[in-house]
């Protein structure tokens, strides 16, 4: 959202559409981008979307993006590390046939290109990509701004557009758990060995010295 707003700061005629997928989406939460300055909110909301993995999510989002049409730039978050590990953005680019730049920390739009600073382990790559393109955004791009009161008032009047699978031309079997390509066979808690050897001493000072001796004995230092 912050990345889109930064672009709109420079080009006020930019239209920002927010797209989100889920079930029972809390209105106050999903309307937040409207308050920050987005123009339109589209929700893919239906029980059929439940249990979507990255494949099913990207399939639904790609269909919705095609229906919305004519986007110059599609921005995705880098995603919660937990279940998806940031696959949806890249997947969308394949389904939409767009070039993809991941982990952007800076985006500048000039003519029909985006100049992107892409985070890598020991610095960043500067990439110039033709638009339309898909860019995933790193949290290094910056914190989202606060919504101004005017925006909050405006957002309160706007209603999201809600689409179900049929509205975007996908079968219920292509999305949600049914459209997913992987399954979890087993969920378990890692066994904690809990065999910590507490190193003592007459005083904390002695314990500290004893710890160093112990680490030497265990060949750790």
């Amino acid at each position: 959202m912050e990345a889109a707003l930064k672009i709109k700061d420079g080009k006020p005629d930019t239209k920002i559409t927010i797209l989100s997928l889920g079930t029972n989406l809390t209105r106050d939460v999903v309307k937040k981008p409207l308050a920050m300055g987005a123009d339109e909110l589209v929700l893919l909301e239906d029980p059929a979307f439940d249990g979507s993995d990255s494949w099913a999510t990207a399939t639904a989002l790609a269909a919705a993006i095609k229906k919305i049409g004519n986007a110059d730039l599609i921005l995705c978050g880098r995603q919660a590390a937990d279940w998806d590990a940031g696959q949806v953005g890249s997947g969308l680019s394949v389904l939409l046939g767009l070039p993809c730049v991941t982990l952007a920390k800076k985006i500048e739009i000039t003519d029909n290109k985006a100049k992107v600073h892409r985070v890598i382990a020991d610095g960043y790559q500067v990439i110039e990509v033709d638009l339309p393109a898909l860019i995933t955004v790193s949290n290094e791009l910056g914190q989202p701004r606060y919504a101004a009161l005017k925006g909050i008032m405006a957002a309160a009047r706007k209603q999201p557009i809600v689409w179900k699978p049929a509205d975007i031309g996908v079968e219920a079997s292509q999305v949600g758990a049914a459209g997913s390509k992987s399954k979890v066979n087993k969920l378990f808690q890692p066994v904690k060995e809990g065999k910590c050897e507490i190193i003592g001493g007459e005083t904390p000072v002695e314990a500290g010295a004893n710890l160093a001796l112990k680490l030497r004995e265990a060949k750790l230092i």
Partner: protein, 332 residues
């Protein structure tokens, strides 16, 4: 599914050599290949590869499939993914392994969507099911509090592997293998995302991700001056200083030092946790550490459940004595 055979490993290069993750993937790939009685093919993409294909063979590859072309000098999403897609389509491997690195994280989802298969990201463990021959991929979920084993029937079976989760083989220079070129035709004028330049940001000292020893402090350190004492110890042990979230949130340490779910994932040989209670988000990403040593005044602190050695006591008293003794022992 009989046509899918063998293990393919995507090689990553660092300073003109194989990156450590590649050795780890080859070690893991070789183990899986032995179980399946199949071969390991290492795909190496770059420019002026020289000795590198032989190094991959020494580390467990049976075949090296190479793209050696100035166009591929630096990692670029579009052309590297095109090369990997071609390698996979021509070879039809059963299993494709990449590292959970910036390149691996970029390439894997693109490839999985192009190939219509599933990829499990950031795996901690990989096994082949003896009956189904499907890959069982263990990932950390729920903020590190649980593990989930994923399977998919789709081929090839793909996974990215966390750095340092697997052990490399001892290099064996006498291992024999085949080096074969992979022809990838790229029309440079049609590349949509062009690399303009690569900017390196130098980090002073040893990087947390690469450090064999990490000295890490938590909320209990109390102020930026406290971390100076941790730096002294880290320097003696040729290690790096890290922190849990509170010291970074409070500005005592830079954000780049943060270890945990929202920070860096580390796996050093020795992790010395000082005044860190061990919130699960921190433990999630430091539990890859081979040996955890804890100093904390609270004997009930979570960190002692993970630690191998510990001292219960105030770090302000324990640490100077510990540091002095370490200095004496390592002769610093």
């Amino acid at each position: 599914m009989a046509e899918y055979k063998g293990i393919m490993v995507y090689a990553e290069l660092l300073n003109g050599k194989l990156a450590p993750i590649t050795g780890e993937l080859l070690g893991c790939g070789k183990r899986l290949a032995d179980e399946l009685k199949e071969e390991v093919t290492c795909v190496i993409i770059g420019s002026q590869l020289g000795q590198i294909p032989q190094d991959a063979i020494a580390l467990g590859a049976d075949k090296a499939l190479i793209v050696d072309d100035p166009l591929f000098k630096d990692y670029q999403t579009e052309i590297y993914s095109a090369a990997m897609e071609k390698a996979i389509k021509e070879t039809s491997p059963r299993i494709v392994l990449l590292g959970q690195t910036s390149a691996g994280r970029d390439l894997s989802p693109l490839l999985s969507f192009k190939l219509g298969t599933h990829v499990a990201m950031d795996c901690l463990d990989l096994k082949v099911n003896a009956e189904t021959k499907l890959l069982e991929k263990t990932r950390s979920v729920y903020g590190g509090n649980a593990r989930a084993i994923y399977t998919s029937e789709l081929m090839p079976q793909m996974a990215t592997v966390r750095q340092k989760a697997m052990s490399p083989l001892e290099p064996n220079a006498s291992r024999k293998g085949q080096v074969m070129p992979l022809k990838v035709e790229i029309d440079a004028s049609k590349i949509k995302a062009k690399l303009i330049e690569t900017v390196k940001e130098e980090v002073a000292g040893i990087k947390l991700e690469d450090a064999a020893v990490i000295v890490s402090g938590g909320r209990g350190i109390g102020n930026p001056e406290g971390f100076k004492q941790l730096e002294v110890l880290a320097k003696l042990l040729k290690g790096a200083v890290g922190a849990s979230r509170p010291p970074c949130d409070n500005g005592w340490m830079p954000e780049t030092a943060q270890i945990g779910l929202t920070g860096k994932i580390v796996s050093p040989e020795l992790y010395i946790a000082i005044a860190i209670s061990g919130a699960s988000q921190h433990l999630a990403e430091s539990s890859g550490s081979k040996n955890i040593v804890a100093i904390n005044k609270d004997s009930e602190a979570n960190i002692f459940k993970e630690a191998r050695f510990g001292v219960v006591g105030d770090w302000k008293q324990v640490l100077p004595a510990f540091t002095d003794k370490v200095k004496e022992l390592v002769g610093g």
